[in-house]
């Protein structure tokens, strides 16, 4: 297990190099002079020359890449053109906000999706099964912006139960330590702040988690159906084990691998692809950070943002792979 983990980590190196090469090339894929594109038509020749100098665009490609990699290894993601500050420092609060939202959304998606899928498979063709699967179908087909707006309209505007925007009360913000609001509130011992932050998470979290929940529910159901028909489940029933043990301990454990794959892929997607949700709910996450950078033609920020998201995606899938071999003793590498 340890040897396998180390081997998998070493295998990440070429993947990460390839990724950095691709993200680094983005700036060079801009047709014409990148500095000119960034600054716009009105810029003077001096300004363009200065920016080229600042971005190191007048060096040969390999040297530029070498310098970029050297920076990366020291944790330097470059400097934002617009704010002129280090991206590595700027990016964390956004990243933390996205993490918090993604974790909430995935916890919601997994708890609801997995249980709905399990019960649907167990009670196949029952009213529960039909209802759950229709909801899941609606869940995957519903546009997220529409769901978000409807939630805001019903739960924020009409009922007034939950806040519609942001991640905290702007008049009473949480003093940031980790930038995870729920965690920070706990560290400060402010339970009311924790509750406020939690309430802010609910609507965007559910909006973001609905599609993964629906996919997880359908995947769990089909995987469980296959497992519940297998011979070893019959053996366990023949031993006189309780239904709970048959369904969850043996059934779900055997059905979990495809579900885990989906959870991994969906988590990766949510981390990078939450722009829509973050925009609707004014959530200050990484999606919005990159989106704004695109508007400002802030290429170093775009580059770094993509690199960070891609890296997380790779690591999440690594964790999923390691979990496979932990769960199934037959998976040996």
């Amino acid at each position: 297990m340890l040897a396998y983990t180390i081997r998998r980590l070493l295998m990440l190196i070429p993947v990460l190099i390839g990724m950095s090469l691709i993200t680094f090339s983005i700036i060079h894929l801009i047709p014409g002079n990148p500095a000119r594109v960034i600054l716009g038509d009105q810029a003077t020749a001096t300004a363009v020359a200065n920016l080229e100098e600042q971005l190191g665009l007048n060096e040969p490609f390999l040297i530029q890449y070498g310098q970029y990699m050297l920076g990366l290894l020291q944790g330097d993601l470059g400097t934002s053109i617009r704010t002129n500050t280090a991206i590595s420092g700027d990016i964390w609060p956004y990243l933390a906000a996205t993490f918090e939202l993604t974790i909430f959304a995935m916890v919601f998606a997994v708890i609801v999706g997995v249980n709905a899928g399990i019960i649907s498979a167990w009670k196949q063709n029952s009213w529960f099964d039909y209802t759950a699967m229709v909801i899941a179908l609606i869940g995957v087909s519903m546009p997220i912006f529409w769901l978000g707006l409807m939630q805001q309209w019903v739960f924020a505007q009409e009922l007034g139960w939950l806040p519609a925007f942001g991640r905290e009360n702007p008049r009473n913000p949480i003093e940031s330590i980790t930038h995870f609001n729920l965690l920070d509130a706990l560290i400060h011992g402010q339970l009311d702040q924790w509750w406020t932050s939690f309430k802010h998470l609910v609507l965007p979290g559910i909006a973001l988690g609905t599609i993964p929940m629906a996919i997880i529910a359908r995947m769990t159901r089909s995987s469980m159906l296959e497992v519940l028909r297998s011979d070893y489940i019959r053996t366990i029933e023949a031993k006189g084990s309780s239904t709970l043990s048959v369904i969850y301990r043996h059934g779900f454990k055997n059905a979990v691998i495809p579900v885990l794959t989906v959870v991994g892929l969906q988590t990766g997607t949510l981390l990078g692809g939450a722009i829509l949700t973050e925009t609707i709910f004014s959530w200050p996450g990484i999606g919005r950070y990159i989106y704004e950078a695109i508007g400002n033609r802030d290429y170093p920020v775009i580059q770094s943002g993509i690199l960070v998201i891609a890296t997380m995606f790779v690591f999440i899938n690594l964790i999923v792979d390691l979990l496979y071999s932990y769960i199934d003793p037959r998976i040996k590498y």
């Binding site: 063709n125 297998s230 011979d231 070893y232 489940i233 019959r234 053996t235 366990i236 029933e237 023949a238 031993k239 006189g240 084990s241 309780s242 043990s245 043996h250 454990k253 055997n254 769960i327 199934d328 003793p329 037959r330």
Partner: protein
């Protein structure tokens, strides 16, 4: 005479499918005495597996359901008090299953949960029914593995099913089934998926356990060789009905029903190696497709008019020998009206 440990009366298990109601087990009655080995013989689809699953309460539902009859189970102590397994609560059935009635299956390769150790799977069976600590249950698991003849039991107990061969896995299945000292062991084609040499070993093991522990065995098989090897009595099933029953010597030496005779004639013999092997003409009818007359009529060499019009009853030919055929009506009397 003591009453049988398991008594099945007029069992009817039907499957409800899109093509209608299919009587997989149609009015089947037989019993097993304590310590006896009863063989249930028949071709695929004759209802022998469904009969055994009915006893365990494991008929997949939907589409299957026990629609009639009773399955009376009597414990060793207080043999007069019978429980009807068709009527008992699910909870009670779970308590009996794996404890007093255990089962092993045809496919040892897929019958063990691949994600749990051998030990865990035996411990689970023990702890479902006995209040013992994990440590005691583990000791019991090792003891059971030794009992079924698994070498290096202390190591195997921590291994996973995929590390064992088919024969070893079937031994583990037997260890699981025997871990609570059941009164009845149901074995659904336990040797079919195994090599011939391993088959003999597994049969030997089952015979041994039957002798040592006095466990009654309900042996479901299509292999008359297995029957000759291990069974005391035999029930022959055809298309959901019992066509003949009796002690193993009678059935194998002087079968009465044309179907049983056909089955025995189909066995290869060393004495006539050059002639073609006999086979019963035609195919097993789909369950439920024959509404009237004897179900074997279409394939029977002795068929006459009455066979396709009336349903034959099970006739008593004396000494527990029963046969469902009009040919013997004069000599026998009807067993169950």
């Amino acid at each position: 005479m003591t009453k049988p440990v398991l008594e099945i009366n007029n069992l009817q298990t039907h499957f409800f499918t899109d093509r209608g109601e299919i009587p997989a087990v149609d009015d089947v009655s037989f019993s097993i005495n304590a310590g006896e080995v009863l063989g249930i013989v028949g071709e695929s689809g004759c209802g022998k597996s469904v009969t055994s699953l009915s006893v365990m309460g494991l008929v997949p539902n939907p589409p299957g359901k026990i629609v009639g009859g009773e399955i009376l189970f009597r414990r060793q102590e207080g043999r007069d008090k019978a429980e009807d397994l068709v009527k008992v609560s699910r909870k009670r059935l779970r308590a009996i299953r794996g404890d007093q009635i255990a089962m092993i299956f045809q496919e040892p390769m897929t019958s063990l949960d691949p994600l749990f150790t051998i030990g865990h799977q035996i411990i689970e069976a023990v702890r479902n029914h006995r209040k013992v600590t994990k440590k005691q249950a583990r000791a019991k698991a090792v003891e059971m593995l030794k009992l079924v003849g698994i070498p290096r039991a202390e190591e195997i107990v921590d291994e996973y099913p995929h590390q064992l061969s088919g024969g070893m896995r079937q031994r583990v299945m037997i260890a699981i089934a025997m871990s609570c000292d059941p009164e009845v062991l149901i074995a659904d084609e336990p040797t079919t998926a195994l090599d011939v040499t391993i088959q003999a070993q597994i049969l030997e093991l089952m015979k041994d356990l039957n002798r040592k522990k006095g466990t009654a065995i309900m042996m479901i098989t299509h292999d008359l060789g297995v029957v000759a090897e291990i069974c005391d009595r035999v029930v022959v099933m055809y298309a959901g009905k019992i066509v003949e029953e009796g002690d193993v010597r009678t059935i194998l030496k002087s079968p009465k029903h044309p179907y049983t005779q056909g089955l025995i004639r189909s066995l290869p013999k060393m004495s006539n190696r050059d002639s073609r092997l006999y086979s019963i003409p035609g195919n097993v009818p789909k369950p439920g497709s024959i509404k009237q007359g004897c179900r074997f009529a279409a394939r029977c060499p002795e068929v006459f008019d009455r066979c396709t019009q009336e349903n034959p009853e099970l006739l008593n030919l004396g000494e527990g020998h029963g046969c469902r055929c009009f040919l013997y009506e004069k000599e026998g009397k009807i067993v169950n009206v």
